[in-house]
Amino acid sequence: LKKRVAFPLMGDYGIPATYLFKHIMSCEIMDIPPITNKTVELGVKNSPDFICTPFKYTLGTLIECLDNGANILIQLGGGCRYGYYANLQEKILKDLGYDFKMYNLVTAGITHPFRIYKYLKEIDKKVNIFKIFYYLLITIRMVKYMDLVDIYIRENIGFEKEIGSFEKLKKKMLKDFTKVKSVFKLKKIYKKYMRLFKDIPLSKPNKVIKIGLIGELYTLMESRANYDIEKFLASHNISITRFTNVTYLLFKKGKLSKRYLKKLDNVKYKMGADAMDNIYYTKYLGENNYDGIIHIKSSFCTPEIGAMPIIKKVANEYNVPVLFLTMDTNSSMVGLTTRLEAFIDMLEMRN
């Protein structure tokens, strides 16, 4: 039996992930279908009642992959409930009658490099440790560059003269990224595109509305899960700041969150997942005179629910309006649009 590997995606990060697996493994890596309404429907149908939304999205993707012929599934777990997704999803999919093997590379928010290597070796005997390190280095760089580009795009996409020019260029950049074979080449491409991004003509007014996007990680990073909220805000000429990205979560969080905790005087302990970080961001956004804050989370996200009243309190201290949005598996964003438009109108009136 030929091994075909699949894994759930999150935002654009599917591109570096596919790049990594394609280079270190000799078995077939599936093209993962993007999340559509059908995916969500499949996920919702087979999920428990009050599980958080990312579970439903990823389960839907896994079902679609299995239908397309995958037989090895890879899932990564984070700290909170996310770490236990894989075990329940495996059981649900087995109950549905699929035949496959599932590997959970990270559980309980703890990464054991040796265990990950063992699993990879189990999937593919030809896995070479030097090759893994080589391409891992490139992938980490790639993610870092992607995040840097995204930060610039988010700030400026609302003011592009020709609509769609940022998006077009980004697509081209990601395509070029996947052809890279070394770190130096990657850096060269990144620098070239960064220059091109900065050359895109902008029409920025003197007074720009600045909004900070905070909240739960999956909903922030997967554009289907937040109904392309960034695009919607950009179409209303708003500059967006978002702190959460993979670079932050994987490499900076450990160090930075300790520093954040010291700077907050009304929070004493870490509150699980990104709750405490988001309270700090609220403070940061308030101190830096942002016009508004939008907090988005998936439904039933416990850490964020605990943090929300505190975020509200901190925002009130700095007199910044906050909009709390809970994203569930609706198929359209009609209800969301009115709320966002009202919020934006309010911000414009305050200016």
Binding site: P48, D49, F50, I51, C52, C80, R81, G83, Y84, Y85, N87, L88, K91, I92, D95, N104, T107, A108, I110, N266, V267, K268, Y269, K270, M271, G272, A273, A275, M276, S299, F300, T302, P303, I305, G306, A307, M308, P309, I310, K313, T326
Partner: protein
């Protein structure tokens, strides 16, 4: 000095420990009364809309106690080691109470992963009040021993229930739900009225439970869930059915209980309680569940 302990969440895990500990230290202890509608309403008023019902009840107890004591004791329980984590609400409890209620708090931190132990936390918290460190340490070990003794007694009486002739159901629920006046107590009463013997999942040997939970929930890393669900392994041959009792929307139960429900081969009933619901809906469900158990039992006797 009066110390108040809200009757909710961690209180039910340290119930007898607190009693003996503060008795030894000669500190007056005020425990909030059993949950009633006034307390529930106090909690609902200040809590976030989406918080779980257990947390809302707890906050109600805190608000009730606010003016009746000098300090409120909060133990922040993060984990008992890498693979023994607790619910996120336990992690954030101190900060939620501090920001929402704003009362004087004594707190100590249990976070074995980062080497914050219970004893050290208690010593640090209470040595501020000019109590000798040695006395606190003595009180701690005294309280641990005494509470272990009473816990072991309960394990034995719980084991005896397993041999009764009635139909037996294992009631799986967190102690803070099970012994709550608004969640668990009415359900237990209903079950007993229907002639069932209720086995409490919390009175089993904790280490055995954690070990046995591996069969049902492999690689689970939540301490309380492991201890609850492991009790199925210890009693499975003797019970007739399982009842899962959860408050809406318990995050960890939604995953772990679902996994168990998909793998057990005896009848089970999943009850989710929200603050708006009245009991009448559950009566029919429990009655029909009891009917199923009875029919199964009769069939087994015939064969």
């Amino acid at each position: 000095m009066k110390i108040g302990i809200p009757r909710g969440l961690y209180f039910y895990y340290f119930n007898s420990f607190y009693k003996y500990f503060f008795d030894y230290l000669d500190i007056q202890l005020i425990i909030s009364p059993k949950t009633n509608s006034d307390i529930l309403k106090l909690g609902m008023d200040i809590a976030g809309d989406e918080m779980c019902m257990s947390l809302k009840t707890y906050l109600g107890h805190v608000v009730y106690l606010k003016d009746k004591c000098d300090y409120i004791l909060i133990s922040r329980i993060a984990n008992y080691g890498e693979y023994n984590q607790t619910c996120t609400n336990f992690l954030a409890l101190y900060d939620i109470v501090n920001n929402l209620v704003g009362c004087k708090i004594i707190d100590y931190n249990i976070d074995l992963k980062n080497k914050d132990k219970e004893l050290e936390g208690l010593v640090e918290a209470f040595s501020k009040f000019k109590i000798k460190r040695s006395k606190i340490i003595k009180a701690y070990y005294y309280a641990v021993n005494q509470s272990n003794i009473s816990f072991n007694k309960k394990i034995i009486s719980n084991k005896e229930l397993l041999n009764s002739n009635k139909l037996k159901v294992l009631l799986i629920s967190h102690p803070y739900n099970l012994y709550d006046e608004y969640v668990g107590k009415p359900i237990i009463k209903l079950l007993k009225e229907n002639g069932l013997e209720v086995i409490d999942c919390n009175y089993f040997n904790k280490d055995d439970c954690s070990h046995f939970s591996k069969h049902f929930v492999p690689h689970l890393y939540w301490k309380y869930q492991k201890e609850m669900l492991g009790s199925i392994g210890l009693s499975k041959s003797k019970i007739d059915g399982i009842i899962f009792l959860t408050t809406f929307p318990c995050g960890l139960d939604s995953l772990a209980n679902e996994l168990v429900m998909r793998s057990v081969d005896i009848p089970y009933l999943n009850i989710v309680i929200d603050q708006t619901e009245s009991l009448s809906g559950f009566e029919t469900r429990i009655e029909s569940f009891v009917d199923i158990l009875n029919q199964r039992h009769e069939r087994n006797v015939k064969n």
